[in-house]
Symmetry: C2
Subunit: 452 residues, 2 copies
């Protein structure tokens, strides 16, 4: 009998929020389909063998794990209890909640590669769960909208991701945004050039924070991570590269001795060219050599999208990965994808007041409920309104009109039909516009054509 | 590197199944909205205090429980380990996966009752999870589509549920179905009449199985459950009641001494009448006094829907509950609802071949990819097709045409545009119909108007 509460870090979405969220989902879904992506859904939970080890040690910790059902502890011996919770976890839990949509997708591709038409373009719009510490704007359950192509290394896919973003974001009303783009190969080349071969991992992690903590702190972190002073001095150009129209010229000069870096630059230039051929004359893309993104599976282009003029982190990110399915024993399936974060997009749209009005899916017209005769007459009208595709309902109880109108008002119902004995006799119904308060006498056919 | 697999009892839904499932979801959603229901979504997991004790002891066992994150076992002492898994569960798990949509809805209503416009009509389409033993047609993750009205005891709501089912099922192509209906008050009255006051719970559980196990086994079960032979003899009319047009007359005679039974009969008769006033001349409803439904929270009308001529269990069920929110400390909010099982509906539609063709959301037209010149020309066409709302893609690699056409074929793409040097010069593109094999030369505008 205690007062119920939500689990920490989770939310309900009531009718008003649902209408706004569905607007976002539908816009994204429509664009995904227009670009040839097909829908996929995977289960909420996966075997832990599928999920563990894919998101780094921190990710493993943030996976929600399901307790085995039945007598999960019956076969344990004392040693199992005493070794701490990490080894114990694997003995009492075999399944975990989806942490992102990419790893389940890779698992799907591996399991179905015999029957999929390759290259396979799929989109997936589903919630994911992370046992993060909840804070403002960070939830334990949130939706991701992903589109990926696997089975080709064509750079057309990268270019199309840029165009897709230029399709989706303006359709949502977000016109002022920047698609930052980089290539992991360039970062690999930089590691080589500064004499820190194979250290692009820690280099990326440190560089990635430049935005947030500034150059001095990044240098500190590089020292901590074991980069020599010589390397750090050689790295200096990265902090002063211009972001102008031709960002690649300086870079080519700096990195001319790294074959892999030059390949990365070539790839970006080709993407740039295709983006324009695809009809974007002034694409909102910006090369950012300091963009690294945390996830270690990227091997080519990397993307990140910021909405400008709002204090909200990136709303989308993605990149090319050459060996994601390799972790499931099937190497050599290259892919590239993008993920849109619905919660951040929602926050951006709220802050900039971008949600169109009338996004509600609410009832269009309510029939009032006075007495038995009017009630029965009203019942005969209801199916006619609905058959015409109009969302309609009758107030279920014979209570005071004020209470009925109050209900209509709070539910954002646009019109109320008042039925009295006059109306029943004449066939002319009183239609009340709930916004203006205006009332008019109209026959049912007139109401239907007006509301349709 | 091991071969990945799905968690037991779960499924992936690839593009083809998604298209079919979305057809079901969209049809149901549209009807729900047309009847004035508003969307709600609740989190995948809830505090166990919200879920436990709501579904009976068996239900408690079937809840998927989440292991507490972090060092869940650090504070446990030896006694905690030794007392068995049930008391241990509550010490290492605080959250569980949603088991149905009704209890989270009741939790939502209680938490938001100050701001909701009552009566509150909501629909909810989300997956639920049960740690059942997986078997044919029974999964551990499955979708429910629920519509409920709370905050009124008007019987209009019951009638509207019947009409809603007559709206949804034919829209899915399921025209041959039966809505079985009963009223828990009648079952309570029967328990009184046969001298087994207060035993309607076990009576319902046993009677509910009549369909599956037959009269003799039901009688055996009643004896096991402590019903006296006298009671069982008095119960006999229940097995011989006719299901004809006027099923209530016999019942009234039999139960004339039970006030509550007569109230239940009155309610059903009113629902019957309103269903007809709502425009259904020959409603597919059937009174079934042996329909009981397991869930103990029903207090009034109960529904169950069967598709006829298929060997698949009920596809929908629901009823009136007077005190669901009472378990959260807020009594007196009566409600009534219906739940549709998407998986069973899917199976019925497959078995009866009811899915409309072309339910795919696949690409409408693919541009082939020959050489650099054709590729660049194709890129300029793509955005024009998409702007016209046509799902379009270009094959990403320059490979043999056969391979490209094979891809289009497997992805169910209807048309392929072939671009050679002729096409680039003349502006007339070759449009290949993938179903008929037919080819024609058309300008882009012609293709757009043809494919739109």
């Amino acid at each position: 009998m205690s007062k119920p509460s939500l689990a920490r870090g989770t939310r309900d979405f009531g009718p008003e929020q649902m209408a706004k969220r569905n607007f976002i989902f539908e816009t994204i879904r429509r664009s995904f389909q227009r670009y040839g992506f097909l829908p996929l859904e995977t289960p909420a939970f996966e075997n832990l063998s599928v999920l563990m080890g894919k998101y780094g040690e921190e990710g493993d910790q943030l996976l929600f794990k399901l307790l085995n059902s039945g007598d999960f502890s019956g076969k344990l011996i004392e040693k199992d209890w005493s070794e701490g919770y990490k080894p114990l976890t694997s003995k009492i839990s075999e399944k975990g909640l989806r942490y992102d949509l990419t790893v389940p997708f890779a698992r799907y591709v591996v399991m179905n590669r015999g029957t999929l038409a390759m290259p396979f373009k799929r989109y997936q719009i589903q919630p994911v769960w992370r046992a993060d510490r909840p804070q403002r704007g960070r939830y334990r359950e949130f939706y991701q909208c992903d589109a990926d192509v696997v089975g080709t290394d064509s750079l057309l896919c990268e270019a199309e991701i840029v165009n897709l973003l230029h399709d989706i974001l303006p359709a949502l009303g977000i016109t002022d945004f920047t698609v930052k783009i980089n290539n992991r190969k360039i970062l690999t080349g930089i590691a080589d050039i500064i004499g820190a071969e194979g250290m692009e991992g820690p280099l990326c992690v440190a560089i990635d924070k430049l935005d947030k903590i500034g150059k001095d702190k990044v240098v500190e972190e590089l020292i901590e991570r074991g980069f020599s002073l010589d390397s750090i001095i050689l790295l200096d150009p990265i902090f002063s590269l211009s972001n102008d129209e031709e960002p690649f010229r300086e870079l080519r000069t700096w990195l001319e001795k790294s074959e892999i870096a030059l390949k990365g630059i070539d790839e970006l230039e080709q993407v740039w060219k295709m983006v324009k051929l695809l009809g974007l004359e002034n694409p909102k893309i910006q090369f950012d050599v300091t963009l690294a993104r945390g996830l270690s599976y990227y091997t080519g282009a990397i993307f990140e999208v910021k909405a400008n003029n709002v204090q909200i982190g990136s709303i989308s990110g993605g990149g090319r990965y050459d060996n994601l399915t390799g972790t499931f024993g099937v190497p050599g399936i290259s892919g590239v994808g993008i993920s849109l974060g619905v919660d951040r997009i929602y926050d951006v749209m709220e802050e900039l007041s971008l949600f169109p009005e009338n996004q509600t899916t609410s009832t269009k017209v309510m029939l009032s409920n006075f007495d038995k005769e009017a009630f029965e007459f009203g019942l005969s009208l209801l199916p006619k309104l609905r058959e015409a595709g109009i969302n309609a309902e009758m107030y279920p109880d014979s209570v005071k009109l004020k209470k009925q109108l109050d209900y209509a008002d709070r539910k954002n119902i646009s019109f109320v039909i008042l039925i009295g004995s006059d109306e029943i006799q004449s066939g002319k119904l009183t239609l009340k516009n709930m916004k203006t308060g205006e009332q008019q006498k109209v026959e049912l056919e007139g109401i239907i054509s007006q509301l349709k």
